[in-house]
Amino acid sequence: MTRREWRNLGLGLAFISPWIIGFLAFTAYPVGASIYYSFCDYDVFSKPVWVGLLNYHDMFTDAVFWKSLMNTIYYAAFSLPLGLVISLLVAVMLNQSIKARSVFRTIYFLPSLIPVVASAMIWLWILNGKYGLLNHFLALIHVKGPDWLADEHWTKPSLILMALWGIGGSMVIYLAALQDVPRDLYESADIDGATPWHKFVHITVPLISPVIYFNLIMGIIGSLQVFAQPFIMFGGGGPNRSALFYAVYLYQNAFDYYEMGYACAMAWVLFVIILFLTWAATKSTRRHIYYAGE
């Protein structure tokens, strides 16, 4: 390397040094330590003791672990597709030539800004079985609402409902993508006599497919790690552990039971699940994603 190249290397590394230190302290070391802990019995107070695959083995026989995994899958399986579809639907409606678009956009977006603790409080109150707003509206159409938060069949739907209230972020991302779709494509489709549905399926969806993919991946990562809402609303997991989610159980193992090794093992299993689903989602959608540059 020339002197100049050496100088640039030194300068470059100096500029990125905050990232290098952060990478070593908050990613590289913790990832390594986490793998090691996952093979140990570790309670923070005494030194980790190597136990081999015991933590991973325990997971298979731990009924609570399976329950938390199934709860999480149930939650993700509903909140993710519903969230994707509803936020796209709202974005498409807002992308029409409508009056007061920015007012509507703000209204749909605002709930996603509310701090999660505050929105959990709001929904605790709305879903209150006796005096809650939701059951009041259901009573108006002569439906007797369930006791959302105390009935084990309704705790997860409650959280899904709450998640659908906070889709503002992905809605705005869709909207930005929709506004980049060239108008003349629609105009030429109009000349060919295409219906709105055809235009949506054959022009809109392909052109915004990278953004749909982005929201899908973010949704997978986010919904599998959902923590604050169920933790705040249901503490230890709600009636019959019906709202005990993966991340909540992981937290309990780490900070309530001080089973740090088990918590790390759970985290790695979660990572593998996320990687697998991301891979599967990428594989199955890759052929359908259209990148303008290619």
């Binding site: 500029f15 302290a25 703000t106 790695w268």
Partner: protein, 387 residues
């Protein structure tokens, strides 16, 4: 054709309005509850607009709380047995004596003093009215509870009356609210400064200086975004524990001075759009890289820095898991954690205070959004489009 278009519009606007109602109602419900007195919170059907009842008495208008409704002809009596006034249905009074049945069915009666007659029936109900006083003044509240009187229901005057002082009472009920606010603001300030400085430095290094292996290291940086927080949560906690930082605010801000990959990525994208000639010209003039970064790049990239700072502020303000893990003493809690703590202590009854506190925690973010709307929306679109 025109009719088809009209129906399309009709469906569109109906859906938009219905959706908008569904998305706004929870927030309106929060604010409405925050402004109510406790007796108007737990009612069915719910009260939307907080009100106050008044009665004209001796030419003066006094505020009252609604007690029981009287639907049958009754008396107000003075029962010496309990030493209090009571309302009893007229058929329980026979010849000036209150007739009651014991558990075994035996009839007993005792003389009572009739104070007044209440000519109420189901079409003309009367109301037991209790003078309204500040509930936090216990002595006054006890005195008011004893000073009840009865009035015909149609003489009650209903006026819209939001209880703004609920906010102050909620702050008092949360005990350390000023400390929560202070801690949150300290954390917001430190994390915003840390994030903006460190990620812009790193982004400069990844975009404006050509060095060997830069792209490989950048890919490594992007790869770190894949690691979910739970994977590194325990070792990071143990590290801070080893440093003796658990229970202090330090674990919550120190990390922000070490450039997170996501922000570096965002800023790098922005830095790449700034023409190279600009920094080259400065270099020829003998400008150091640090000066180019500080005096040329940062001013040019203000919009992107705004977005990064704004998102960091929001994240820190809203963060729940971090404070939950690291903070142990109530006095070091943030607003988010303090609100959850308050709910776990007072939840289930004091909905008006809980909603007032939630409004206080949510409001700054909403205000921030209205003042910085453009950066906000642009920022979110940016994360999506360039991801």
């Amino acid at each position: 054709m025109n009719i088809k278009r009209f129906i399309g519009r009709l469906i569109l606007y109906t859906l938009l309005f219905a959706g908008a109602a569904a998305y706004t109602l929870p927030l309106l419900w929060m604010i409405s509850t925050a402004l109510k007195p406790i007796e108007q919170t737990m009612t069915m059907p719910p009260v939307w607009i907080p009100y106050r009842l008044f009665v004209e008495r001796d030419g003066r208008r006094i505020a009252v709380k609604e007690g029981e409704t009287i639907n049958v002809p009754s008396y107000v009596i003075f029962d010496e047995h309990v030493g209090k006034r009571r309302i009893v249905p007229r058929n329980l009074i026979v010849n000036g004596r209150l007739v009651q049945h014991t558990i075994s069915g035996e009839e007993v009666s005792r003389p009572v003093r009739i104070i007044r007659e209440i000519p109420a029936d189901s079409r003309h109900p009367w109301i037991k009215a209790i003078p309204e006083v500040d509930e936090s003044d216990l002595a006054a509240a006890r005195k008011a509870a004893a000073e009840w009187f009865v009035v015909p229901a149609d003489q009650l005057i209903r006026k819209i009356a939001p209880r703004w002082d609920n906010f102050i009472k909620a702050i008092r009920a949360m005990k350390y609210f000023p400390l929560y606010l202070k801690n949150t603001l300290i954390l917001c300030f430190l994390t915003v400064v840390g994030t903006v400085l460190s990620s812009s430095l790193a982004a400069y290094g990844f975009s404006r200086i050509p060095w060997r292996g830069r792209n490989k290291v950048f890919i490594l940086a992007l790869a770190t975004m894949m690691v979910p927080f739970p994977v590194v949560m325990v070792p990071i906690y143990c590290m801070f524990r080893w440093l003796g930082w658990i229970g202090t605010l330090r674990p919550l801000w120190v990390g922000s001075f070490f450039a997170g990959a996501f922000n570096v990525f965002l800023l790098r994208q922005f830095f790449l759009t700034i023409p190279k000639d600009l920094s080259d010209a400065a270099r020829i003039d003998g400008c150091s890289e640090l000066r180019i970064y500080w005096q040329i790049m940062l001013p040019l990239c203000r919009p992107a820095l705004m977005v990064v700072g704004l998102f960091q502020f929001m994240f820190t303000w809203n963060d729940f898991l971090g404070p939950l893990i690291y903070l142990t003493d109530q006095k070091t809690f943030t607003l988010a954690l303090g609100l959850q703590f308050f709910q776990s202590q007072h939840g289930g009854t004091e909905w008006h205070y809980l909603m007032a506190a939630s409004t206080l925690v949510g409001l700054p973010i909403i205000l921030l959004f209205f003042f910085t709307q453009r950066s906000f929306i642009e920022g979110i679109s940016m994360t999506g489009l360039k991801g």
